[in-house]
Amino acid sequence: MNMSRDHFRILLPVLSLVVLLAGVFYLQPRAMSYFGLNLLFNLAVPVALATIAQMMIIMVNDIDLSIGTFVSFCACVTATFVQETPLLGYLILLMSIGAYAGIGALIHYRNLPAIVVTLGTSFVWGGLAILILPSPGGSSPEWLHAIMKSKPPLVPMAIIASVIIGVLTHLLIKRSSFGVLLRGVGGNDRTLSRAGWSVLKLKASAYGLAGLFGVLSGMALIGLTTSADANIALRYTLLSIAGVILGGGEFTGGRVSPIGAVIGALTLTLAASFLSFLKLSPDWQIGSQGAILILVLAARLAFAKREAQQ
């Protein structure tokens, strides 16, 4: 086989998605339609965006434990300020992206463990979300709801959106010189700084990008659910980490794949639907998601061995 490492890396996420999709279609043939696919992947868009955000952080060798509360916070802002006083709302979202970049800069400047700092900021975002929306409520801005619920011909919105997210971030991270520098921070930041680049600025940019995608995730979520609560996206922290790794990313070395991450997010969303089609007792829903995660990663081990032999 004449494939680059990157192609090889993407093969497994694609395969696991295809296998799961085949399983869903086998169990529920009616899902094999425009409407069915839309239903299956609807909630995948915010998960994919949050996974890309997490990928930006993992790309620079850090890990973000706050993305779930951050997305919840952005969802609350979108459902309240953006809906009522748009200018103020966008200003808040813009400032929160700035805050994310600032956190990245602080982590690099003081050489702090990202896992702990983001743990701390997760409390802050959660607190802010509760202050904004003490009880569930708010509503989606009209245009946002219209986009998320739109029905383009032939291909459902969720799939178009996932492809756009994957391709755009692929171009940014894998094909642009800026992306090379960002991945370089994860690969070898000392070399980068000796070559005259400011690792501080690069790290702040990576965190800023994560903030941007976190904001988009929160907005997309509100477009779908139309109302928010302060805990709406707490699961996203763990889902996004799992999505990045399922998609062929690694915790160190800047080895991440944006398209893989999106596919990983789709796989995780689909796994939940697959299990409900299996008519599995609800007791085992979470557990089987864990089992699927383990299975895919075990398959990856087998792949890695073959890769090593070639």
């Binding site: 702990v116 743990l119 802050v124 959660g126 160190t252 007791d283 864990g290 383990i294 081990l301």
Partner: protein, 327 residues
Amino acid sequence: MSDPTTPVLTRQTRNPVSLFKKPWIWAYVAAGAAFLGTMAISGGQGAGSLFYTAMTFASFAAIVGVGQMLVITLGPGNVDLSIPSSMTLAATLALKVMNSEPGMVLIGLATALLVGLGCGIFNFSLIILLRIPPIIATLSSSFIFQSLAIWSNRGLRIKPPESMSQFVTGGVLGIPNVALVGIAIAMAAWVALERGIAGRWILAIGQNMRAASFSGVPVNTVRFAVYVSCAVLASIAGFLLANFSGGAALNMGAEYMLMSIAVVVIGGSSIGGGNSNVPGIWGASLFMFLVVSMLNSYGLGAGVRLIMTGIIIVAVVSLASKPGELR
């Protein structure tokens, strides 16, 4: 740190032996400040009961914190995210076995310990056999443990035996019994880490796994023991907590995921591994509880309380970090 063997393995020896140069002292200073802050509002009323409550709740955090600390000491990438679900599973099954009968307490405890053992073995087999990164391995297994807990108790809340409830809420000489258990566990971990060969091995692996392996440390045996200890400690904490709060609940462990990591780091252990700090765990656990009770006594709402807690965590870590330290 006057032990002649320490210079080889720990980085703290750069500092002269002085109380205020110990990385763990700040956790106690902060805890003391939070205690005084609470007392300032009440005018000194209820100092004894605040101390008693703080010791009780801090001991749950300290027990899981010691386990998480052992895991984190193994080096970058080592974190146990399955602590909350191990706690829940152990507590659920133990209370089910005890079935509120006073004679079954020891069997209940044994059940909890066995569950912890099983969780730890499962976690480590994912890590070693399937070579799954520990974060993802413990995350996936936590989903499975959680499902097992849901399946086994079906939302039933079984009361703990009367004798056990009395033990966990009682105390000796003004110190809660659970705190005595927590202190005993911390002491054992401290002695093992500072004086025992096993502790040297854990630190050596955390500083450089390859080097440790070449110098004859049984790397995988030690890692196995650490992951199992962490899960067993989580199961003990879960067992005590469920008896304390009148039954096991499915979300009983939820806050301990972040809590266990926070107390390790605020307590002065290096998040990059290879440098652990047992006394700090207790200081940080007391601090984490007292800060919340201080903010509570100022009458702040849940939102402001969370924000303050977050800012304090970030501030403590920023101040305690030594620039240039390896992560």
